[in-house]
């Protein structure tokens, strides 16, 4: 089954990409943005059909590789 995970920067960590995208959007006329933060998204297809177990495997992956826990948080957002 497929599990999606989202990795975002921790709150106080600088997001240089988000900052520049914000400026560019502003220049393009999108004036109503307060903030924009960029993160990573993973769609992982695992050989496991139990949603609970699948989620656990992906959490493990996030902890061990996908997220850099020093500056990032992860969240499992979907299993299907």
């Amino acid at each position: 089954m497929k599990v999606s995970a989202v990795i975002t920067l921790k709150k106080d960590v600088l997001d240089p990409q988000g900052k520049v995208i914000h400026q560019t959007l502003d220049g393009m006329g999108f004036k109503d943005v307060n903030e924009i933060r960029q993160g990573k998204y993973f769609e992982i297809d695992v050989k496991e059909n139990d949603p609970h177990k699948a989620k656990e495997i992906v959490e493990e992956m996030c902890k061990k590789l996908l997220a850099n826990l020093v500056i990032e948080n992860y969240k499992i957002i979907e299993t299907q």
Binding site: D12, V13, L14, D15, N68, L69, V70, I71
Partner: protein, 731 residues
């Protein structure tokens, strides 16, 4: 607000007597913001409290030195109103915690130090040291650090032209990441950090201030313990794009005459930058912290002052130039704010929400900062090992050569430097992989050579000799490309100064560096000390890294190490005595880790180097390479690999065992290639200068012929040398 007492002070890394001294100096108890400022200014990283006393011994002057230590970077004269600004800086602790960001922000920080002085960065170098390849963490740390260095430097458009990489188990818990930058500036357009004049506007430019890296400087002054996880929030994230804009904007503002003083916000951020400017100018500064551009809501004065957000600068402007400056920073889309002014109070005064939140005499933070004469232990010169010929007789030269060329500390580091843009700016005339990186001074016939070196094993075996050796090696690497050595920068990476042995290593290495640089007229113009490279009780091997810079007056005369032409003659300059102790051969093949490092004879060092320069000046030298780790045969092999040519070695007239002859690491030696017709002239010069030399052999097509029995093809040499790192990183 949090109350301050001794306990809080200790949590800030201060010692009880240091806290008492603060109270005495202020004649009161500091508030929390003030305590934060003291702790940042008085930690090892900013105050050099354990090292100051010893650093004074380093020679820092010569006719070519425009600015020695004490500014953001050193400056040397390269004639025609051109000057080179350069410095090396460590980012060890942050890189261990988060290798990509740690290394990236290290590179960003050192580039800021250089362009703060008005110089456009023209070359980067790095010296990186990792734990043993078998250590679980090593591979990821190496990958992260290399990606970080490349990520930042490549984006800035500054070529990374040379470096050094080593592996040793003493770095298992403390990797070293030292970054060096060279910049080019006109001699009459150098900017300094000394504030001057009253009521001058103090300007903040660059990125906004966030909560990142609060207390990074104190982290750099503490050893790692089991709680390193807790130190994580102090990691800073680098934004090379903003730094590139900041570089261009600063250089644009520097074209005019608006700036009185400028200082980047490095370790301890706004605190150390404002205090340094005030202290050098013997002035006060007042800052309204509400005016500081902040990324996060509700940041406290404490956080604003101690944040180590990257890509920020502090400038003291001439009155009336604010609008002009603002236009430039607006154009580059950077934050700009007038946050305060210079005063005659000689205090640093901070205001927040219309209240004074700190008021500290500047001199208490700088001149009155602690200085320690730490206890240190003198190292004994280890006894020489007595090797018997039987130790060597059952070794096959080819096997030894294979092992040495593929050793992780000798093998090609192409996997690393291919990930660094080393050709951007269009002036790199010697890429990584040679003895020094070389870049032309844009639009002129001159070129600047730079190399970074360290020999932790020698320093560990005998710090005094090791200290001398590193300086000598740097000098040799510059001479090998035809550059006249001018000055050095040094990054002193050591364990805890509170440990007598580590402190002794520091003191004696500095002594050695000092002796060699004095003798070679190769002064120290900038540098950095990184102590506490220590996990629990285990410190790293002492690792002073020396970054040398030299000048090639006519870049067409630059020398490279690849063998050039069949039938040319190959000579060795300098005497081979067969010193095996502490050689790579002894350590890896014989597994003998004791004994003294090779001796450094400064007279020979200077004489041999200068004689080689004389030969180069007279156009006799076709290729040259200094002999370092791995000895004579290793050096020859590298010249074969690079030049895709072989050599037929003549039978040595030397009486020593072949193994000793080929793999000993005696100092002060170079291999040179000359045309047969020039032999008599070359010999004449060498004899005139009393330089010891031997004829080694003649260049042939594609084999290294060592003796009747032993032949190695160039392809074999290449595969020994180039595969290890690639395979390691992809396994």
């Amino acid at each position: 607000m949090m109350l301050v007492n001794e306990k809080v002070a200790i949590e800030h890394g201060l010692k009880p007597d240091e806290y008492k001294k603060i109270c005495d100096l202020l004649k009161r108890v500091p508030n929390i913001t003030e305590l934060g400022i003291f702790s940042a200014m008085w930690n090892e990283h900013c105050s050099y409290k354990s090292s100051r006393l010893h650093l004074k011994k380093l020679p820092t002057k010569s006719k070519k030195v425009i600015q020695g230590p004490g500014e953001n970077a050193g400056v040397i004269d390269i004639e025609d109103n051109d000057a080179i600004v350069f410095k090396i800086e460590s980012h060890n602790h942050p890189s261990f915690i988060e290798p990509y960001q740690g290394a990236a922000t290290g590179v960003g920080g050192i580039m800021r130090d250089v362009f703060t002085m008005g110089a456009r960065p023209i070359a980067n170098l790095n010296s990186i040291h990792f734990g043993s390849p078998q250590n679980k963490k090593t591979k990821n740390l190496l990958r992260g650090v290399v990606h970080g260095i490349g990520g930042y430097g490549n984006c800035m458009g500054v070529p990374t032209i040379a470096g050094q990489t080593s592996f040793d188990s003493s770095y298992n818990g403390n990797i070293l990441v030292n970054a060096m930058t060279l910049g080019l500036v006109k001699k009459n357009k150098i900017f300094y950090s000394k504030a001057a004049g009253l009521n001058k506007p103090v300007i903040y430019v660059g990125s906004k201030t966030g909560r990142d890296g609060i207390h990074g400087a104190s982290m750099a002054s503490a050893s790692f313990d089991d709680k390193i996880e807790e130190k994580k929030p102090t990691v800073q994230v680098g934004d090379p794009f903003t730094e590139k804009l900041l570089l261009e904007a600063c250089l644009e503002l520097m074209e005019g005459d608006s700036i009185i003083a400028i200082q980047d916000m490095g370790a301890a951020g706004l605190t150390s930058s404002s205090i340094e400017m005030a202290s050098k100018g013997n002035l006060g500064i007042e800052i309204d912290l509400n005016k500081v551009p902040c990324r996060e809501a509700k940041m406290t004065p404490y956080e604003i002052m101690l944040s180590e957000s990257q890509e920020r600068m502090l400038i003291v402007l001439e009155n009336g130039k604010e609008e002009h400056a603002k236009r430039i920073f607006d154009k580059w889309n950077l934050d700009f704010a007038v946050i305060g002014q210079t005063t005659n109070s000689k205090n640093i005064e901070l205001f927040f929400d219309n209240e004074q939140v700190a008021n500290i005499p500047v001199n208490t933070l700088v001149e009155n900062s602690p200085m320690y004469d730490r206890k240190w232990k003198k190292a004994k010169l280890p006894k020489k090992n007595k090797f018997k010929n039987v130790d060597f007789n059952n070794l096959k030269i080819k096997d030894v050569l294979k092992k040495i060329l593929s050793n992780h500390n000798v093998c090609s580091k192409e996997w690393i430097w291919q990930q660094y843009d080393h050709t951007v700016m269009g002036d790199t005339i010697q890429k990584p992989g040679g003895d020094s990186g070389v870049v032309r001074v844009h639009g002129t016939n001159k070129a600047v050579a730079a190399s970074v070196d360290s020999s932790a094993v020698y320093c560990w075996a005998h710090p005094l000799t090791g200290g001398k050796q590193v300086v000598a090696e740097s000098w040799r690497n510059l001479i090998s490309v035809g550059a006249k050595p001018i000055a050095i920068t040094n990054c002193l990476n050591f364990g805890s100064p509170e440990n007598e042995e580590n402190m002794g290593e520091f003191v004696e290495c500095v002594q050695g560096i000092s002796e060699a640089s004095k003798y070679l007229e190769f002064p120290v113009v900038s540098g950095n000390v990184s102590f506490y490279n220590q996990t629990k009780e285990v410190g790293i091997k002492p690792t002073p890294a020396i970054g040398g810079v030299g000048l090639i007056k006519d870049y067409k005369k630059m020398i490279s190490m690849n063998f050039k032409e069949i039938n040319n003659l190959v000579l060795i300059i300098g005497k081979t005595e067969g010193h095996i102790d502490q050689s790579l051969f002894a350590r890896t093949i014989l597994d003998e880790k004791n004994g003294p490092p090779p001796e450094v004879n400064l007279f020979n060092e200077k004489n041999n180097g200068e004689s080689l320069l004389e030969l180069i000046e007279n156009n006799y030298i076709k290729s040259a390479h200094d002999i370092s780790l791995g000895g004579l045969l290793t050096a020859i092999s590298k010249m074969c690999i690079k030049g895709n040519k072989g050599i037929k070695l003549s039978k040595s007239k030397n009486l020593m065992n072949e193994i000793e002859y080929f793999f000993s690491e005696d100092q002060g030696r170079y291999i040179i290639e000359i045309k047969p017709k020039d032999l008599s002239e070359v010999v004449k010069i060498l004899k005139k200068n009393s330089v010891h030399y031997e004829e080694l052999g003649i260049i042939i097509d594609n084999e290294l012929v060592i003796n009747q029995k032993t032949k190695v093809t160039i392809d074999e040499l290449k595969s020994y040398n180039t595969n290890w790192l690639k395979n390691y990183m992809s396994s």
